[in-house]
Amino acid sequence: MYRNLSVRQKHIVWAWGFLVIPIVFYVVIRFYPTANAMVISFQDWNLLGNRVWTGWTNYEKLWNDPVFWKVFQNTFAYLLIGTPVSLVVSFAIAFHLDKLRFMHGFLRMLYFLPFMTSAVAMAWVWRWFYQPVPIGLFNNFLSSLGIPQIEFLRSTTLALSAILAPAVWAGLGFQVIIFMAGLRAIPRSYYEAARIDGVSGWTILWQITIPLLKPTIVFIVVFSSIGFLRIFDHVFNMTTGDPGGPLNSTKPLVLMIYQTAFTDFNMGYAAAQTVVLFLILLVVSLLQLRILRDR
C-alpha cells in the first residue's frame, strides 16, 4: 500500500510517523489530565469513593471562601513585588557586570550558583537564617547589637517578603545571564555614535540600551511572572508545620491546591482551584505579551 503512494504522500506519512511520539506524549501526559481536571472540578471526589457530579458547587464554594481571596491576594503580591524587583535587580547586576572585566567569570558564577541549587535546600537554609535567637543568623546579629529580634516568618506582615527574598535571589542568576546575552547583542556602533554626539550615559541607557533590550525584557517578564504565580517550593519548605505561614499570610494558590488535594483529599475543590490558576496564568501571559509587544 505504501508503495502506491506518491512522493508527497510518503513525506506526509513520514512526517506524521515522527510526530506521533510527541503527540501521543502530549495527549496522554498533558491534554488528557488537563481535560480530566476540568471535569473533576465539577465533581465531588475524595480519591477513595465515587465521583459525584455537583455542577458549579466547587466554584461557588471557592467564590465564598475567604481563604481563597487571601491566597489570591498573596499570589498577586508575589507576582507584583517579585517580578519588578527581580527585573530591576538583575538588570542592574547585568549592566554593571557587563562592563566589569576583573573577576568577571567568577562573579557571574556566584550569581548563577543559587539558580542551580535545589530550591528545597535553599529554602531550609533561609528558614534557619530567619529563626529567632538562639539559632537564627539574622536575629543573633540583631541581638548582639542589643536590638530586639524580628519574627520574620512568624509575622503576618513580614513573612511574605521574607519568603520572596530568597525566591528572587534564586532566580537572579538566570535573569542576569539572559540580560547579559541581550546586552552583548546590541551593536557597539550605536554606543559609539551616541558618544561622538556627546550624549549622557543616562540618555544612552534610556534611549538605546533599554529599547533594544525589549525582547529580552518581554521574555524575562513573562518567564518570571509565570514562576512567581506558580511559587511553591520556597513557601512550602519555609513554612512546613504551619503550611502557608501564620494565618495564611504567605500561602500562594499552588500551595492551597496542594493542601486541598493531598491533605484534605478534596479533589473536586482542588481541581476547581487549578482551573482558576490556569485562567490566571493564561490572562496574565496574554496581557503581558500584548502590552510589551512591539507596536
Partner: protein, 418 residues
C-alpha cells in the same frame, strides 16, 4: 534465603513421597503496606520474620512509602486490584476506608468482637461497625511530659511538676534570656503545630472544667468558659509568664532535643528519636494534673486491616498474619523496638512495663486517656494553630478567637458527617 528454602523443599519432594505431600502445598505470598518510619519498619521486619518461621507456607512482602504519599498510593492501588492484602491506616481514616470499600471486616470466628472488647483498651471500640471489627492496632500511643534532667539539676529542681501551677513555677526557673531580652532557653516548649493541639483539646479543656466535644465528637463544645480559660492558660505560658516562645528553635521537639528546653510534651513515638541523642539526658513523667488532681491524656493509634483485594487463600493468610500482629508477643516486640504501647492492658499493664521509667508514664496515661475522633486531623489542627495566632499576632480577644475556631471546626465536622 527463600530461594534456598524452596530448593530444599523441592529436593525433599523428589526424595520422598511423604515429603511431597507437605511441599505440594503452594506457598502464598501476601503483601503488607505501611508508611516509612524507621523504627516501625524494623519492628515489622522482625514480626514478619517470626511469622514466616511459624507459617512456612506464607510469605509476607512489606512495602513502605513516605508518609506524604501513603494515602494517595493506597487509594489508587487497591481499587485497581494492586497493592496490599494487609494495610496499615490511622484510626481516623477508618470511615473513609470502609465507605470506599477498601477494607473488609475481620472474620468473627478469628476475631470474636466480645473477646476484642474484653482484651483491648476501650478506645479500640471505635474500630467496630455493626457486628464486626474492621481493623485492630498492635500499639497505641499517648502523651507525657519529657524533661531535661541536666537542666533540672542545674536549676536545683528536685521533682518534675505534678500540677499545672507547679509546671509554671518550674518552667520559670528553667527559662533563660539574653541581654536583649530574647529567650534563649524555654522552660517548656509550645507550639500547636506539634502535640500541643491534643494537649489543649483533650487535656487542658477538660482540666478547666469543660468537655471539648459532644455527641461522639460531632459537636464542638470548647467554645465555653473552660475553653477560654484553657486557651488563656496556654497562651499565658508565652505572654504572661514568659516561660516559652512560639516558634522557638523552629520546632518544639528540636528545642528539646538540642537541650534548649526544660520540658516538652510529646508522644511515646518520640522516645526512639530522643534515645540516641548525644549529650541529652532526659526523663519522662505523666502530664500535670489540675489543682483538683484531674488528669487527662490523648491517645491515638494506627491499625492494620485486611483489604478487599485479599481473597481465597490470600485472605486466610492475611487473617493469620493479622492474628499474629495483634498477638501479645507482637505487642511486646513493638514496645521494645518502637516504644509504642501495647494495645491490650494485659500486655501493657504488666508490672515491668507499667513501672518502666520511660514507658510507665505513657502506659499509666492510657488509663485516663481520650481519643479524639478526627474528621480531618490536619485541618482541625490548623484551626487551633490559627486560633492561637489570631490572639498572639493580631491581638484578637481569646473569647472571640475561640468562637471563630469553634465555628470553623463545626463547619468542617458538619461537612464531613453530612
Amino acid at each position: 534465603m527463600f530461594d534456598r528454602q524452596i530448593r530444599t523443599a523441592a529436593l525433599g519432594a523428589m526424595a520422598s513421597t511423604f515429603m511431597f505431600a507437605g511441599a505440594a502445598k503452594a506457598e502464598v505470598e501476601i503483601e503488607y503496606w505501611q508508611y516509612f518510619f524507621e523504627a516501625r519498619v524494623n519492628a515489622m521486619e522482625q514480626l514478619i520474620e517470626n511469622f514466616e518461621a511459624a507459617n512456612p507456607d506464607i510469605k509476607v512482602k512489606m512495602t513502605h512509602f513516605p508518609y506524604a504519599d501513603y494515602r494517595t498510593k493506597v487509594a489508587a492501588a487497591i481499587p485497581a486490584g494492586e497493592g496490599p492484602d494487609v494495610v496499615q491506616l490511622f484510626y481516623g481514616w477508618l470511615n473513609d476506608y470502609v465507605a470506599a470499600d477498601l477494607i473488609q471486616p475481620l472474620p468473627n470466628d478469628a476475631f470474636p468482637p466480645s473477646m476484642i472488647e474484653e482484651e483491648f483498651f476501650p478506645m479500640v471500640g471505635a474500630m467496630r461497625a455493626g457486628d464486626n471489627f474492621w481493623a485492630l492496632p498492635t500499639a497505641v500511643r499517648s502523651l507525657a511530659l519529657f524533661y531535661n534532667t541536666r537542666l533540672f539539676d542545674e536549676a536545683g529542681i528536685e521533682e518534675p511538676p505534678e500540677t499545672l501551677d507547679e509546671l509554671i513555677d518550674i518552667a520559670k526557673k528553667l527559662t533563660k534570656t539574653d541581654s536583649a531580652g530574647n529567650i534563649t532557653q524555654v522552660g517548656i516548649t509550645a507550639g500547636m503545630t506539634a502535640q500541643d493541639h491534643h494537649w489543649f483539646r483533650e487535656v487542658l479543656v477538660r482540666q478547666f472544667g469543660g468537655e471539648p466535644y459532644l455527641d461522639d465528637y460531632k459537636t464542638v463544645n470548647y467554645n465555653s468558659e473552660a475553653g477560654v480559660k484553657a486557651a488563656e492558660f496556654y497562651l499565658g505560658l508565652a505572654n504572661e509568664h514568659k516561660v516559652t516562645a512560639f516558634g522557638f528553635m523552629d520546632e518544639p521537639q528540636a528545642a528539646f532535643k538540642a537541650g534548649r528546653a526544660g520540658m516538652h510534651i510529646d508522644g511515646s513515638f518520640r522516645i526512639g528519636a530522643l534515645n540516641n541523642t548525644r549529650g541529652l539526658t532526659w526523663s519522662v513523667t505523666e502530664l500535670p494534673a489540675n489543682a483538683d488532681g484531674l488528669q487527662s491524656n490523648y491517645s491515638s493509634y494506627w491499625v492494620n486491616a485486611i483489604t478487599t483485594k485479599a481473597e481465597g487463600e490470600k485472605h486466610d493468610a492475611a487473617v493469620k498474619f493479622m492474628q499474629y500482629v495483634t498477638s501479645n508477643e507482637a505487642m511486646q516486640i513493638w514496645l521494645d523496638v518502637v516504644g509504642e504501647l501495647p494495645a491490650k492492658p494485659s500486655v501493657g499493664l504488666t508490672e515491668a512495663n507499667a513501672n518502666d521509667e520511660v514507658f510507665g508514664p505513657f502506659i499509666r496515661g492510657l488509663a485516663y486517656a481520650n481519643t479524639t475522633k478526627f474528621a480531618n486531623e490536619s485541618a482541625q489542627r490548623q484551626i487551633l494553630i490559627d486560633m492561637v495566632q489570631r490572639i498572639d499576632l493580631e491581638g484578637q480577644s481569646t473569647v472571640d478567637s475561640i468562637a471563630v475556631a469553634a465555628e470553623a471546626e463545626q463547619e468542617l465536622l458538619d461537612d464531613y458527617y453530612k
